[in-house]
């Protein structure tokens, strides 16, 4: 039984709860500062296999294997890693019809202090669109819990990758 949502849920808790309610049981991660509290939550969960990987493209492969082994995989990542993953998303997930939900800290947008994050930040939604990857942008913490579940359902039913974009204001 899923616990009712606390009224004062934090952003990391919302992401974690969204994954739990979606039934995600296999998570690969590449760190982002915004994910620093989510990653330990996943790591502590005895019902989730957590695999820190060295690069997002590698994570796409590990998640594909996990799906083929009966798991519900998600990747915690920064949007810069979308660029690192393009070939695998197309020539593995889309070619074979392998679901994956990418939960993405979207840097380089409103409130970004690091100029190097801006180019990929601005390209992120365009990249997702050209790859025909459905993406969801929650408008609140509670909505993130919902959108992560919808994103997994979309990935599973469409046999394709999907994404949830979590921009800088979401984490405040």
């Amino acid at each position: 039984m899923v616990k009712p949502l606390p009224v004062d849920v934090t952003s990391p808790e919302a992401v974690y709860q969204g994954m739990k309610r979606a039934g995600i049981d296999f998570v690969v991660s590449v760190p982002c500062l915004n994910l620093k509290e989510v990653i330990p939550m996943v790591d502590r969960d005895p019902d989730i296999i957590h695999v820190p990987v060295t690069r997002e493209e590698e994570g796409v492969g590990v998640c594909a294997g996990a799906y083929m082994g009966g798991k519900r995989p998600a990747m915690l990542m920064q949007n810069s890693g979308l660029g690192n993953s393009v070939n695998a998303l197309a020539s593995l997930n889309q070619l074979y019809g392998i679901p994956l939900v990418m939960i993405i800290s979207h840097r380089g947008v409103e409130g970004e202090p690091i100029c190097a994050q801006v180019p990929m930040g601005e390209l992120t939604t365009q990249l997702l669109e050209i790859l025909e990857i459905p993406y969801f942008i929650p408008d609140s913490k509670a909505d993130a819990i919902e959108k992560i579940q919808v994103a997994w359902k979309t990935a599973l039913e469409g046999r394709r990758p999907s994404a949830v974009l979590l921009p800088i204001p979401f984490w405040r």
């Binding site: 296999f26 820190p52 590698e58 996990a66 083929m68 798991k71 695998a88």
Partner: protein, 187 residues
């Protein structure tokens, strides 16, 4: 020893041990398909570099099933971080066999860095893997495969491709057939 000789031995071990077998992109897939096509083979037709990663995900998800991945030197060099991730997870049901022919055999035999001295067995050890075997002998490969159900094997072979037909299955069929068998009989 040619690559197809090593693939034949690996496929035989997979059959004996009821292992699932992930095979690297390109002509290695076609060679495996020609020597032993079974539902437990996953032919990775794209995503160069990710065979060892797919194998790791399978091994962690199906801990009671033996998983073998066949990879190549050019592909491993493209995803060296995978060797470090495999070391951190170290699943005891996962055997990664890297067939090193020193060349990009599917694209015209351009030399890889292993032909100039890069040593994948040492790199695998340096990445933290404690169980790494290497050989360039066909007889020793058979012996290593008999005695190892997990870890990393680097087998040196001569460059060159066998003259084998294309895989006649589409990706969706490869996937459906593989998944239908991936929970049976061990799971």
């Amino acid at each position: 020893m040619q690559r197809i000789d090593a693939i034949r031995d690996i496929a035989r071990k997979a059959g004996q041990d009821d292992a699932l077998l992930v095979c690297n992109i390109g002509i290695p897939c076609k060679e495996l398909y020609s020597v032993c096509d079974t539902p437990g083979n996953f032919y990775m037709l794209g995503s160069m570099g990710l065979a060892s990663s797919i194998g790791l995900g399978l091994a962690l998800s199906l801990p009671r099933r033996m998983i073998i991945a066949i990879d190549g030197d050019g592909s491993v060099l493209m995803n060296l971080g995978s060797l470090a991730t495999i070391a951190t997870q170290a699943p005891e049901n996962y055997l990664l066999v890297i067939i090193d022919n020193g060349s990009y055999g599917s694209t015209g035999d351009q030399p890889t860095a292993t032909s100039k001295g890069a040593d994948l067995a040492e790199i695998a050890k340096g990445a933290g893997n404690s169980r790494v075997c290497r050989t360039d002998s066909h007889e020793k490969l058979k012996h290593i495969l008999q005695g190892n159900d997990h870890g990393i094997v680097v087998v040196k072979v001569d460059p060159g491709n066998a003259d084998v037909p294309n895989i006649s299955m589409c990706p969706g069929d490869i996937m459906r057939r593989f998944m239908a068998g991936s929970y049976q009989p061990s799971d």
